[in-house]
Each structure stands twice: as structure tokens, then as C-alpha cells.
């Protein structure tokens, strides 16, 4: 189409102006994409993390969330048996978590010369806490260590000494020597956190918490609905907090809702910036052309054709900007992800920015719509200028 060829060349007529507009809108588009990825990414990645080991329910002491407090479930083996006999439940994996100290080669005081370590007590036959990358599950004198510890030079076959924090007097009773049997990825570890796993009875003894568990992970029978199983369990076990992954995700989402609000606000800001930028550029460029527009209309070119040419002009700007901006947005999301994965207290496996093609499409569509909408205003305003009066003003 001739009129579209005109639009494209008109942009080339002011290359610096067009380039600035494209870059400005590209930055706004990048921000919009990142905010769309942030807004939707958290929930999705949290859900996939919680279900990654195949346990759909979490059981914790009444009134708490998993690992939210130090509270534990008493008579853990009895509770486990009772839960496993419930209909719709396949398996129960009890977990006890505790901070222990691991001796290192530096210093010699009670707590000097040690590093803090988060140790999980599990039933190696039924657990969804770690995934072995080498070696085998721990026996009663064994320990599986996380990557962070392995990176300090510990290897399978080495011995480490673990003890519960406390006074020297108790230290003897509460110290144990363990042989490293395996190296594993700990699914819920936050960034930089040192993790290890021993058997449940071993940790219970070491921390003087006989037959207790911080949490139980429940695998339900295939085909059962997690929420209904949880609801049924809740009726019969009021002493326990029973939540499905869906409910946990909801709770987490509520806690992290300020991320989404931030995303919503910044996303809106980038659309407003796009609108203002394109609106300004198009208003300037259209104002420059009032005389030409009047002449074109005088020779019979329709308002619709002229408005279409302007819209194509802004659309071209926005398409270029979106192409640059989406690439930029992905790059920036990667950088931000790296920064946020060190967010304290959150499992480092949580992804803040999750790439989904539909987010890309939404960001592009948002920018294109905002841009075209912004161009519509000066374009329509120009069409309302009287032809003869404009020509009169333009002639010397």
C-alpha cells in the first residue's frame, strides 16, 4: 500500500527522533514484560516447587505453616500410622528440621570453630526433601550433604561432627560423628543455606526431640482431589494443620502480594509511559504536517486513509520497540532473577520471573495498543482542523 510506504519513510525522515521513541518505548516494553513475568511467575514456580516431589498435602502442628515456627508434632510415628490408614492417602513422609553446628578447622570455642547447618531428619524410604546427585541415602550413622557443603571440600566417605547448639555440659551427649553417604540437591534450601539430612531417629536423639516431627508430607492416591482429601483429614484430626499445596500457594501468594501490586503498578506505569511517548512523538510529527494534511484532504484523500497512515506510523514504531523491548526484558529478568534468588528465607528454587509465551504476547499487545491509542488522539484532532482555514494559514 502506497500510504503505508509513506508511513515507513516518514519515520526515516527524522531518524534520531524515531530512534529515541523506539528506545524509550522499548524500555517501557521491557519493564512491562518483566512485571507481567513477575506478577504471574511467583505462584506458578512456588506450586511447581511444592509438588515437585509428588507430595500434595502438608501436615504441620495446629495453627502453624510448615517450618514457620519451631513447633513440632508429638507421637510422630503414631500420627504417621494413623494418617497412612486414612482413605485416599498413599504415603506419609515425616520430616524433622533443626539447626545444628558442624565443626570446622577454624577456632575452638563452644560455638566458634563451627558453622551453622540446617539438618533435616527424614525416612530415607519416603522423603521429598532432597534429591541425591551421587552416593546413597543415609543410614543411622550417615549423612547426606547439600551442594553448599560439598563445595567446601567434603566428599562421600568423609566424616563430619554435628552437634546441637547449647552448653558445653550437654555437648558430649549431643554430638555425633557421621559419615557422608551422599550428595544431594535440597529442594527447599534458600540460597547459600547449608543443608544436610540424617535419619529421623538420629536427629530426634541428637536434638532431644524423641518421636517428634516438624512436618509431614502426604502423598495422596492418584485421582483423588487434594483439597477434598485435606478437608476430610481436617475434620478427623483437629490437632493438626492440614493444607493442600494449592492452599499453601494461596497463603504464600497473599504474603507476597506486594510483589504483585508492585508489578501491577510498574506495569501500568510502563503503559502510561508508552502512551505519553508515542502520543508526544506523534503529536509533534502530526503538528509539523498540518499544511500537508490539509492539502491531502483538499485533493480528496479521505480522513480514514490519513488516520490509517498515522496509525501505521505509530504501529511501526511500537513493533520495532516491542522487538527490542521484549529481548531487553528477558535479559533484565535474568539479571533480576539472579539478584532475587538470594532473597533470604525463600527457597532458591523459587523463580520470580517465569517465562511464558503468553506473557510475551501480552506485553507486546499492551505496547502496541497503548501506542496506537496514543496516536489516535493527535491524528483525529488533525482531521478536525478545517481544510480551507489551515491552507489559508499555511500560504505566505
Amino acid at each position: 500500500m502506497l500510504i503505508f510506504r509513506y508511513s515507513a519513510r516518514e519515520l526515516l525522515r527524522h531518524p534520531a527522533r524515531s530512534l529515541l521513541a523506539v528506545l524509550g518505548v522499548a524500555v517501557a516494553c521491557a519493564m512491562l514484560l518483566d512485571m507481567l513475568m513477575l506478577g504471574g511467575g511467583l505462584n506458578a514456580s512456588f506450586r511447581s516447587l511444592l509438588t515437585s516431589a509428588g507430595y500434595e498435602l502438608r501436615v504441620s502442628p495446629a495453627g502453624t505453616l510448615p517450618f514457620d515456627t519451631g513447633a513440632t508434632i508429638g507421637d510422630a510415628s503414631g500420627v504417621r500410622l494413623r494418617l497412612e490408614s486414612e482413605p485416599g492417602i498413599d504415603a506419609v513422609a515425616p520430616v524433622l528440621g533443626s539447626n545444628l553446628l558442624i565443626e570446622n578447622s577454624r577456632g575452638a570455642g563452644p560455638d566458634e570453630g563451627t558453622d551453622r547447618l540446617f539438618v533435616l531428619g527424614v525416612d530415607p524410604a519416603e522423603q521429598g526433601i532432597y534429591r541425591l546427585t551421587s552416593g546413597v541415602d543415609p543410614d543411622e550413622n550417615g549423612v547426606v550433604i547439600g551442594r553448599e557443603l560439598a563445595d567446601t571440600g567434603l566428599a562421600i566417605g568423609d566424616s563430619i561432627s554435628l552437634r546441637a547448639p547449647g552448653s558445653f555440659a550437654e555437648a558430649g551427649r549431643r554430638t555425633g560423628s557421621f559419615r557422608v553417604t551422599g550428595v544431594a540437591d535440597f529442594l527447599y534450601a534458600s540460597s547459600g543455606e547449608r543443608s544436610a539430612a540424617v535419619t529421623l531417629p538420629t536427629l530426634a536423639q541428637l536434638t532431644d526431640q524423641p518421636d517428634r516431627a516438624s512436618l509431614m508430607m502426604v502423598r495422596i492416591t492418584e485421582g483423588e482431589n487434594p483439597d477434598s482429601v485435606a478437608a476430610a483429614l481436617r475434620l478427623r484430626h483437629p490437632e493438626l494443620e492440614i493444607a493442600s499445596v494449592g492452599q499453601l500457594v494461596e497463603t504464600a501468594a497473599r504474603r507476597l502480594s506486594y510483589f504483585r501490586q508492585l508489578a501491577a503498578i510498574l506495569g501500568t506505569v510502563s503503559l502510561v509511559v508508552t502512551t505519553l511517548l508515542i502520543g508526544t512523538i506523534m503529536a509533534i510529527s502530526i503538528n509539523d504536517r498540518y499544511g500537508t494534511i490539509a492539502a491531502l484532504r483538499a485533493i480528496g484523500i479521505s480522513k480514514r486513509s490519513i488516520v490509517a497512515a498515522f496509525l501505521v506510523e505509530s504501529l511501526l514504531l511500537c513493533v520495532l520497540a516491542a522487538a527490542v523491548g521484549l529481548g531487553l526484558g528477558l535479559l533484565v529478568a535474568g539479571q533480576l532473577e539472579r539478584i532475587l534468588s538470594d532473597f533470604p528465607g525463600l527457597p532458591s528454587a523459587i523463580r520470580f520471573f517465569v517465562f511464558e509465551p503468553d506473557r510475551l504476547a501480552w506485553a507486546a499487545a499492551g505496547v502496541l495498543l497503548a501506542g496506537v491509542g496514543a496516536a489516535l488522539v493527535p491524528a483525529i484532532r488533525a482531521m478536525n482542523a478545517p481544510i480551507a482555514a489551515t491552507l489559508h494559514r499555511e500560504e505566505p
Partner: protein
């Protein structure tokens, strides 16, 4: 005079009856055109002269259905243009009127050929035919060698020739030109007159509003405007 020529001259292209155009500017009433009646027939070549501000441009815009009169009637090729909607008038101008401006008003980023094609594209002509006709028109105005040049790459006189070719794009019976030699030097103006005369010979009716006496004298007839009225 041949019978064919006589027939053409009988065809009335423009008929204006007691046309007035008033503007309100900051509370003042400006009577730019004050009761003008005139006719333009096929084959006519009319020059409208008169002092600055006498209403030449205003009248030309009225005759070309670019502007609407405050009162009075204007028939173009038999159609009452004062009752048409904006869009209908635009379509009418596209198909029946050619316009040339003092400042050319070509699109700077399009080539001469594309500028001439533009009104044809708007009228819905296919690309091939458009291109052929635009080439023929540019050749007709003496620019057969400058088809691919942009307005910035040719002289003022050549630009105005491109503008004339564009005005003829959809084969209008009527060509209106406002001060077409206003930006041209004397010898280029003389060439423009020759172009108009030869287009007129070929049957296009022409009305020019001008200060250029040489151009006015080259027309078949002249009309003088003073204060928005025809001086008898």
C-alpha cells in the same frame, strides 16, 4: 469551431449562484466573498485576479468544494456540493477536481511517481494501471526523466509540474490552481503558463487565482475580485 468542441463548451462544470463566505474572527465578521455568481464551462480557462485579501483563494476553495459557502449554491458538474457530507465532498474532489497550491504540498518522502499515484491509489486503481498512468502524466508535464526523484531533489518549477500531474491523476474535468507561480521565477512561470495552455487545449477547464499578470493574460478570460465582489 468543431461540433465536438461546441458540445464540450456547453457542458457547465461550475455554476455558482450568489455565493457568500463569511468568517468570524475574534468577534469581527469578515466577508471574504460577498455574493459572487459565475460559470465555468468545459474548455474554459479563467484567471481570477485582484488585490491581496480580495477573496481569490476563498472563492477558489468554494469552487473546488474544499470549503462550504455561508449562503448561495454551487453546482459542480451538475451536483449541488453544498448539500454533500464531508466524506462525499472529499470523494467528489478526488474524482472531479484537480487542485494545485502555491506551496506544492507534495509528500517529501515519496518519489514524483508515487506522489502522482497517491490520488489514484485513494480512488482504488490497481498498481499497474496507477504506475502507467502516473508515468504518462509526468511525461506529459515534461518530467519523464525524473520519475524516481523526490521533491527535494528537483527544482521548484519541476515540483509544481509534479503537483499538476498529481492534480490530473484521476482525470478531472476541472483544474483549480491557487497562485501556482507564486514561488517560481519569471521564466519558470512562463513555462507553467504554457503547460496550463496546452492542458486547456487538450480539454481541461482551468481556473487560476493569481497575482501573476503574465499568467492571467495567458488565460482565455479574466475576472477581477475586489473586496469579495466581482468588479464589473
Amino acid at each position: 469551431m468543431s461540433a465536438e468542441r461546441a458540445g464540450r463548451e456547453q457542458r457547465r462544470l461550475v455554476e455558482a449562484r450568489d455565493v457568500r463566505r463569511e468568517y468570524r474572527l475574534k468577534g469581527d465578521l469578515i466577508e471574504a466573498v460577498r455574493g459572487i455568481s459565475l460559470e465555468v464551462s468545459a474548455g474554459d480557462f479563467l484567471a481570477i485576479v485582484g488585490p491581496s485579501g480580495s477573496g481569490k483563494s476563498t472563492l477558489l476553495h468554494l469552487l473546488g468544494a474544499v470549503d462550504s459557502p455561508t449562503s448561495g449554491a454551487i453546482y459542480l458538474d451538475g451536483s449541488d456540493v453544498t448539500v454533500m457530507t464531508d466524506a462525499e465532498r472529499a470523494r467528489f474532489r478526488l474524482e472531479h477536481v484537480g487542485l494545485v497550491f502555491q506551496r506544492f504540498h507534495l509528500l517529501p518522502m515519496l518519489t514524483a511517481l508515487e506522489n502522482v499515484e497517491l490520488p489514484m491509489a485513494e480512488a482504488g486503481l490497481a498498481r499497474k494501471e496507477r504506475e502507467q498512468r502516473a508515468k504518462a502524466l509526468l511525461t506529459r508535464v515534461g518530467l519523464g526523466e525524473r520519475l524516481r526523484h523526490r521533491p527535494g531533489e528537483i527544482s521548484g518549477g519541476q515540483r509544481q509540474r509534479v503537483a499538476v500531474a498529481r492534480a490530473l491523476a484521476n482525470r478531472p474535468a476541472l483544474l483549480l490552481a491557487d497562485e501556482p507561480t507564486g514561488e517560481l521565477d519569471q521564466s519558470t512561470s512562463a513555462e507553467m503558463l504554457e503547460l496550463f495552455q496546452s492542458l486547456n487545449e487538450d480539454g481541461t477547464a482551468i481556473v487560476v487565482a493569481t497575482h501573476d499578470l503574465q499568467l492571467a493574460e495567458g488565460a482565455r478570460r479574466q475576472m477581477t475580485l475586489v473586496d469579495g465582489k466581482i468588479r464589473e
